[in-house]
Each structure stands twice: as structure tokens, then as C-alpha cells.
Amino acid sequence: MMRFATLLRHPADWMMGHGAETSVVLTSRVRLARNLAKSPFPGWSRKKDREGVYSFLREKVESVPGMKDGFSHELCDLDPLQKQVLVERHLISREQAARSEGSGSVVNRKQTLSLMINEEDHLRIQAIRPSLQLKEAFKLAHSVDQRLEKVVDFAIDPTLGYLTACPTNLGTGMRASSMLHLPGLVLSDQIGPVLKGINKLGLAVRGLYGEGTESLGNLYQISNQSTLGESEEEILDRLTRVIGDVAQYELQAREKLMTEDSIMVRDRIGRAAGNLSYAHIITSKEALNHLSMLRLGADLTLLPSDLVESCDRLFMETQPAHLQWRAGRKLEPETRDVIRAQMIREQLQSSLSPAIDLSGKEK
């Protein structure tokens, strides 16, 4: 079985830059909610029932090809920092991080599949792919679903579809979402109307970590709201079309900014590069916002292109839990800000090569 440290040492393939394909749409994620036909949902079951469901499902899930040598832990075996790291990686939800006995996380080695046992539903099958690949992500999750349905009796009503703890997930039980980087629409003040338009189409827009989180680093998640009354294909088609359109708007906005207001764009990118290269204290919010500008600079070829990958890596690694995990101990926010700044300076040194030495070290 894969250890937590091993999981952390290997960034998932969907986290790393994939060139032009991921210049706007970073990742695509699909999750399917499934429940056992004869058990109360996790939020309404006794601990004993939950533990029974957990051990039953864990065995079935681990027997799915590709999951065997993955990561599999009951949440009570993980400390709060480890749980938070998994949340930052989007491998478990914030809701699941609050759970302990009888709730578990099973992740394959490539970190493309993450199965949550006893989160809000008995089982959530999540697949993650880089760039705009919602259908590929669905195929992956669907293949696991089809394997499991042979050995698990899922709760299904022919008219209502898959029965879920919350009726908002009823039917397909499918939530599909993409993470988009939209600095062009933000800088050109078009983000408001675009988000409103997306909402009008019955799709949801959220910040970096889902429901109720603010947008940081110009990162937005777009997902389907309705899960009943349309087939998976219809939902994915519509979502893919809308996200593709938004990505197109973003690229147009960037182009327009570069022809009409290039000095402003260069100024923002230059200041971000300056801050990141020389800051010695930086909060995760400030880091995300500057990294977003730096990534834009690299996407626009104003900065070396290898910075895209550095930015994507730093988006994740400068998050509070990742930072503390790397340091090997719990850190006060003030200390985190110092270590974060140092880490960013080191990572960017080769690409941005600062001319001024503020390290205070003897030459």
C-alpha cells in the first residue's frame, strides 16, 4: 500500500503544466455519488453501521484494478495536517476532512482516481484529468462505477436514478467541474458579466476550494448544478461547450489587453515577478495572486515558458498544509509566510535570476 509520504512526493500528472492546452483550463473533474441500497446514508447512520459500510466498500474499492497499490486510509488514521493536504490536492472534500472513524479515502497511484467512502454519500468516485477533458474524466469514473456495480447493490430508482443523501445530487449523481485561470477577464473587468452569464445557463461558479470559498489567484471552478432530467452526455456536452466558450473569451481578453493596454499588463506581471523574487514574507493569498500574474506572463510569452509549470507547482505547494508538511512540523502563520517566500524565491531563481542579492549571506 502507498504511504502518505509517497503520495505527497509525487505530484499528480494533472497538476503539472500541459502547455497551451492548460493555459486557461487547468483541470477537469467528474464525481459520481453512489449509495448502498439497504443502508442509511452516512449522515443519518450509527457509527457501527458506518464502520460496516466502510469495511465492505473499502474491500470492494481496493479490488478495482489500479487501486490495489494505491493510497487507502481511514480518516481517523490521518492527522489534521495530512487531511488538510488531501483537501488542498482536491483528493478529499472539506466535508470529509471533518470525519474520522468509518470514513476513508482510496486514491490510485497516479492520483487520477480518488474514491471517498462515507463522505456525504456512501461512495463518491472522482476522476481528475488535466485541461478540458470532462468526457475523459467521466469515462474513467464510469469504468470504476461499472466494475463496482457488479459486486455492490447500489440504490437506484428507475425514475429518479441514483438515490443520494441530498436530493440536489439525485439522478446521475454526477458533478462535473473544471478549474479555470481567468486573469484576462479579471484585468479587463469582464469577469462579472461572464460569471453572471454562466449562472444564467444553470451552471455554478465557485472559488478554488468549492462551495463558499472565495476566488483566489483568478481561479474559478465551473460545474453543473442539475443532475436529474438530462443524461450524463447532455450535461457534459453543455458544460464542455460553455467552458470552451469561456476559455475562448479569456484568450480574446488577453489578446485585447496586449494590444490596447499592454503597459498595464506588463506592469502587473513585472510587479508580481518583483514581489515574488524579492519578498521575504508572503501570505498564501498574496502568493496566489502574484503567481497568477506570473503564469499569465509565461502564457503570453513575456516570461520564460517553463514558469507555467513552476507556477502550477507553487499554486499547490505554497498552500498552508503542503508547506507545513514539507517543513515536517506545524507552523505558525507568521513562520509559514517566511518559509513560503523563501520557497518561491528558490523555485523562481533559475527562471527570473534576481539581480539584487538581499539574502544577507557573506559572499
Binding site: 443519518w44 456495480e149 429518479l160 436514478g161 439525485l170 439522478g171 446521475t172
Partner: protein
């Protein structure tokens, strides 16, 4: 006396006779208002004297709501559902269907699942709707005294039923 709906002190007393059966319930002011009874006199007058039927259906709603039982499988109640917006177990979807049906249109594009179903479930569903369609045809054939067609339909139905039995095994 406590309100049937929320355990507050009851001030509205209501008696209804349906199909010869006497049904009594008591509500507090707030619950009565919530259920659309602002003045019981209005309610009683409304349906009969003014020929307005809406109050009558409201009374039906109240009766069925007060008769709403907890889920026998998991003990979840309608109040629980209203409080948390989630259900207790898969069985709850049958038990609280009325309440649910009211909420679904604001959540989803439609009320009927059009997505993937595992083979067995999909087949069962297809046979069920085929059966319903054939039964309809059979009834109208008998009514119109088209007996030859009716006999054919009956054979078809028994074949589908046989298939359905195999699937259910």
C-alpha cells in the same frame, strides 16, 4: 394541548369529516398560518359558500402532512428532512415523495432520470413500460370488441411478463 406539528401550545382546533371518518387535529397559531389557515371561519366558508375550491385542497394537504409517517426503514421524519435538506436512507425517497416532488423542479432540469442505468435496471424498466403500453392496448381492444387483436396482445403480455420474471430473478 400541544400542536400536532411542532409541540407548541395549540390554539387552532380543526375537525374534518372525510369519507365518513372523523379526523381531528390541533395546531398552534404559527403552524396554522404556515399551512394557510389564517382564519378557520374563512376556510369553512370559502369552499362551500363562495364556490372556491382551493381551501379544500389545502385541507387535504394538511391532513396528509399530519398523517405523514416517519420512514419505517431508518426512522427519518419529515421535520428532519425540512431541517437538513437531506434524506435518511434510499427508502426515504418513497416515503417523502410528496414533499420531494415539490422541491425537485427548483433543483433540476427535469423530474425523470435520463442518464445511465446498469443493464439489469434499464432492462427491467424497459419491460415495465412495454408491459404498461400493451395492457393499455389490450383494454381498448376489449372495449372495442376487437377480440382477435386482444388475444394476440394477451399472448404478447404473457411473454413479456415471463421475460420480466427472468430479469427479476
Amino acid at each position: 394541548m400541544k400542536c400536532d406539528s411542532c409541540q407548541e401550545k395549540a390554539t387552532v382546533f380543526y375537525t374534518q369529516v372525510t369519507e365518513g371518518k372523523l379526523k381531528k387535529f390541533v395546531l398552534c397559531e404559527a403552524c396554522a398560518q404556515k399551512k394557510g389557515i389564517t382564519n378557520v371561519d374563512d376556510l369553512l366558508m370559502g369552499s362551500d359558500l363562495l364556490g372556491n375550491s382551493p381551501p379544500q385542497t389545502k385541507v387535504q394537504d394538511i391532513v396528509s402532512e399530519l398523517n405523514q409517517e416517519d420512514c419505517s426503514s431508518c426512522g427519518f421524519s419529515l421535520d428532519d428532512f425540512r431541517k437538513v435538506g437531506r434524506l435518511g436512507c434510499p427508502e426515504c425517497y418513497q416515503v417523502f415523495y410528496r414533499e420531494l416532488a415539490e422541491r425537485l423542479p427548483s433543483m433540476h432540469k427535469g423530474g425523470v432520470h435520463k442518464g445511465y442505468l446498469p443493464e439489469g435496471v434499464a432492462m427491467k424498466q424497459a419491460l415495465k413500460s412495454e408491459l404498461a403500453c400493451l395492457t393499455d392496448k389490450l383494454e381498448s381492444a376489449i372495449e372495442d370488441e376487437r377480440f382477435e387483436e386482444a388475444a394476440m396482445l394477451r399472448d404478447k403480455i404473457s411473454k413479456v411478463e415471463e421475460k420480466k420474471g427472468v430479469v427479476e430473478l
